[in-house]
Each structure stands twice: as C-alpha cells, then as structure tokens.
C-alpha cells in the first residue's frame, strides 16, 4: 500500500499537504516504469524555478531515463516556493526514497481543496487494473 498521508494524480504525481503548503513528488510506480528499478538508468530531471505559479495538471518539469522522457504534471494549484536541489546530482533518491527524500517541489497553495485528487486506495486499484 502506498502512503495514505497524501493524495495522487492519475499521472502518478503525489501531493502531501501540511497547512497551505504541499510537497510534490512522483510515485515509485512511475519511477519504476522509467528505470525498471535501475536507478542508474535515470539521467535527468528538470524542475521549475521558484516563484513560478502552477495550475492543476500543468507541466512543471520533465524526468528522463535511458529509455524514455516523461512530463511532470502539477497535482495542485499554487506557487513554487522551493525546489529539491539534491535531485539534480542525486537522481537515485527518486528511486530509493520517492516518498520523503525524493520530493521535487514545495508549493504554496492558492487552492486548498484536494478533492480533484485520488486517495491511496483508489490509486492502488488504478495500478492493479493496469497490470
């Protein structure tokens, strides 16, 4: 079971909300799809500048592995106030710890409702249907 302290976008981004701040990351499933569990196969992750405002579903970056490129879509609406700088030189944290150390951006929410996102249970059943 994936963490139920956060909510999910069908495109595999997660959002963990504390007050009016959300941490955004990418699920283990998406990372595994890109690199098949071989963290050395991740080659690049492009993250936005702080200060950028994002809408739900807006592309905020790209992640690339040896075999594919994927867009990163924002699960929330708000302003990027911090970017996880550790990722650029340590892409492996996305694979080794996608839920905590592997957060990508911190967003100050302009819309707090997360009703448009799915919970961990729904996300799990979505993955189960895909496989």
């Amino acid at each position: 079971m994936r963490p139920d302290d956060r909510k999910y976008l069908e495109t595999h981004e997660w959002a963990k909300v504390t007050g009016d701040i959300a941490l955004i990351g990418l699920t283990d499933f998406a990372i595994h799809e890109l690199c098949s569990g071989n963290e050395g196969d991740l080659v690049y992750c492009d993250l936005p500048e702080t200060g950028r405002t994002l809408e739900v579903g807006e592309t905020f970056g790209e992640i690339e592995s040896v075999k594919a490129v994927a867009d990163l879509s924002s699960p929330v609406e708000g302003e990027v106030i911090e970017v996880n700088e550790a990722i650029e030189d340590h892409l492996e944290i996305l694979s080794s710890d996608p839920w905590e150390q592997g957060w990508m951006v911190k967003i100050k929410l302009t819309k707090k409702s997360m009703d448009h996102l799915i919970d961990a249970e729904t996300y799990e059943s979505m993955l189960a249907k895909q496989s």
Binding site: S36, N38, D41, V43, Y44, V66, K67
Partner: protein, 365 residues
Amino acid sequence: MKQTPLHDDHEALGGRMVEFGGWHMPVQYGPILEEARHVRERVGLFDLGHMGRVRIDGPDALRFIDSIATNHCARIPVGSIRYALFCRADGNPIDDLLVYRESESVYLVINAANSDTDLAWLREHEAGWDVEIADETVTTTMLAIQGPRSTQVLAGVCPEGDIDALGYYKFTVTTVCGLADTRVSRTGYTGEVGYEIYLPNDAAQGVWEELLAADAEVRPIGLAARDTLRLEAGMALYGHEIDATHNPIEAGLSFAISFSEEKGDWIGREALQAVARAPRRELVGLTSDGKRVPRQGYGLYRADELVGEVCSGAVSPTLDTNIATAYVPPELAQAGTQLEMDIRGRRQPVVLCALPFYSRTRPKN
C-alpha cells in the same frame, strides 16, 4: 500478442516484457547499460524469435529475389549471407533483411514489424516466377550469442568443430547442443563477434538453457541493449534510419545496393540511381555531452535554421556519452560540425562525427 518458445524463460529470468513488432519480448533483464557493456566485454544471449524467417525455393528463387532485393543475390556464394533491402519503385525501403544463400534456395531474415508487409510484397510479385514462398517464422525460432567470448562458448556446445573457422557473414549447418542439422551464422546486430542460431520451436528452450549454463559469463540480454549496441555499431534500424521516406543511399547503405547489368532490373533501381547522382542529405553520427539523451524526431539547428533531424539516440556505455544518428544536408556532413539539438524547446550542443561510433576491428583513435 505472439510469444516465442522462450517466453516463460524470460519471465522466470525477471525480464521486463513489452510489445515489439506484435511479439511479447524482453526489453531488459537488468540495467540496460550494464547489459550493453556485458556484450561488449563478455558474452550475451538474445531471443530473436520475433524476427521474420522466410524460405524461397524453386528454380527461379535467385532471379526472383534479385528482382526485388537491392543486393546482387545471384552472386552470393553458397554458404554466405548478404545484407539487402526491399524498396518500392520510389527507392524508399519497405524493409531491410539478411539473405542466406543455400544451394537450392534463399532464406530471408526480416524485421518482425514488417513481416506481413514483406510477405505480401513477395507474393504480389511472385507471378511469372517458379518459386515457393514459405513463411517459417512461427514454426522456427532463432537465438543470437554475441560478444568477445561468444566463439568460445558456442564452440563448446558444437562438437563438429566448425565454429572457430566460420567467417563473418557465413553460415554452417552443424550440431548445436546435441541438435543435428542446425544452422549457425556468424552474424549479429551488435558490432561484436557473434552468431545467430536457427532452431525448431521445440528445441529452443533446451538450447537457450544450455547456452546460459555453459559459462557463468553468459547473460540474457534484452532488446533495449541490443538497440544501443547496434546504434554504437552504426547499423540501421527500419523505422529510424530507413523508412518509407528515407532511402538507403542517403543512409549510407550503398554497399547493399547493386546497379550491375548482370543483376538486371529490380524494384527501386531507377529511383535509387537518381538519388545516388544527387543525394539531398547524409546520415551522420553525433555526440552530445549534455544531460539529455537524443531521441528520434528531435530537430537539429544551426542558429535558427532547422537543418536536420535525429533518427535514433541512446546513452552509449561504450563511448560514455550520448550518441545519435541524424540526417543533415551533405554540405554540413563533416566530422566536427557543431549544431544544436532542440529538446522540447531547449537547446543542447551536439558535434557531428563519422559512423560507426564503435568498431571492433577499427578502434577509433
């Protein structure tokens, strides 16, 4: 989706299975770059059951194939193999293939994704020739063993002793893992010493498992590493360097095209002669030290001018940089030309170079 006789073996080995040309095939078993490196340094085993295999028999077999394929097949010595293409009248290919010359027939190995098109093409042009076209794809299978140690490993399971002396692009019929009358060719798609082995379906598992067990260094290798290896070796892939709008002359495949009088006319000959007189572009290699991996369709720019397009790209474990093939105008096709690659709106510098990136027999520098 079609499955090769080794499907269950791949799943047991942890292979990541994907659709490829209508077949359910292993794209990787572990890290792609490690698999590619393993073949360059040691030895890897590939399931190539998805490749199309077609036999053409009959008194007109050679003349028939010479009227369709680009190479001069009647001149292939018995026991030898040549690379060739099937082209349309406009000179653009519908596929590329290997032609095995047997004493009474020819045997073709074609791409999985193009097999149906190729067979329809052969049957469409069969009228008037005394030939029999037999699709052996689903009744047979094939493996490849590739890498510097492949000769030693394969010779160890071939007691007739004819593997060591087998020349490049030659084949023999021998005993492999106790299986008599098995065709083995010294061919491959990796740029290494290597062999391809043709088997009846019911023998595939036994031979695969025996080869894997023959030496601790034999590892299964997926299609992703195979693609990296062929790109490093500068070998074309249909759908990338060649397709319905990219002809073999501009792709640098003139070695596989015969305009000789003796071969007679063939489909696409006139169009390709015209291309040979005035090529509009040239296939080149490029390297890029940036982080992004070149991928098919990325544009190449000189300042604001779009001057080319990437055909295939990969992280090269052998060169330790990003590599790609691309078409550029002939006047730009010089090693050292600096261009920029557009990656979804961002630019990354690239430098053109000659193909291949890697040659076992002609090491660069």
